[in-house]
């Protein structure tokens, strides 16, 4: 009788493992949040492994892996979120630059944009010295 229960557990785990393998490969590359979905699929594989461990009588190992597996999934998802997930993470999309406003030669972009805009105070002051070709009368 115990043999049948063990083989049922092993067959269930084999079915879950094959479903996880097919799911891992068939997930489209263009799916949104595909990496998190794959981590989720690996969770199915972990549970299948735990069922197989119970099926072959390794209860302690099954308990240990039952505790360890979520830590692995969380660590991978956390690392992906922090450094690679540009889809959801605005911090990774915008790149911060160290701006030195007192540098004599390298001027920051926003400072130059203020100087070049039409309402710039400095540009208005420089209008006194500007000469356009329309104002030159060649007859004189």
């Amino acid at each position: 009788m115990i043999e049948y229960v063990q083989s049922a557990l092993l067959l269930i785990s084999a079915f879950l493992i094959i479903v996880a393998a097919v799911g891992l490969l068939s997930l489209s590359k263009n799916t949104k949040n595909a990496v998190y979905a794959r981590i989720h699929i690996v969770g199915v594989f972990d549970v299948a492994c735990i069922i197989a461990m119970i099926g072959i009588g390794q209860y302690l190992l099954a308990g240990i892996y039952f505790i360890l597996a979520p830590f692995t999934a969380h660590a991978i998802a956390n690392a992906y979120w922090k450094k690679e997930d540009r889809e959801n993470n605005l911090d990774l999309v915008t790149v911060e630059e160290d701006v030195d406003y007192n540098h004599p030669f390298i001027h920051p972009k926003d400072k130059m944009q203020v100087l070049e805009s039409e309402n710039s105070e400095k540009l208005k002051a420089d209008d006194r010295f500007s000469v356009t070709t329309l104002e030159i009368d060649e007859g004189e």
């Binding site: 092993l10 393998a21 590359k29 981590i39 972990d46 461990m53 390794q58 892996y65």
Partner: protein, 88 residues
């Protein structure tokens, strides 16, 4: 032939398929996918050793699989911690 014996072999075949799928998945673009695939391969190999040790009554296979599961976990978490960087 015993039904338990057959089902163990079926699990081994399923694990080999999963290892191949994980190898393919580890070749996807991001580094995290490589980490995920390698951790799956390690666990699947440990399971194959566990079942092999159970079929052929080899005790040290179980020790090796226990070590693989432990150190695979530690390696995965350590690599993920390095990949994630600091919280600052």
């Amino acid at each position: 032939m015993d039904i338990l014996f057959i089902s163990k072999f079926i699990v081994v075949i399923a694990l080999i398929i999963m290892m191949l799928a994980a190898l393919r998945a580890s070749a996807y673009k991001s580094t995290s996918m490589g980490l995920l695939g390698s951790s799956v391969v390690v666990v699947a190999f440990a399971m194959v050793l566990l079942i092999g040790g159970d079929i052929y009554n080899l005790g040290f296979y179980k020790d090796i699989s226990l070590a693989l599961i432990f150190f695979g976990f530690i390696g995965t978490v350590a690599f993920a911690a390095v990949l994630g960087g600091n919280d600052e």
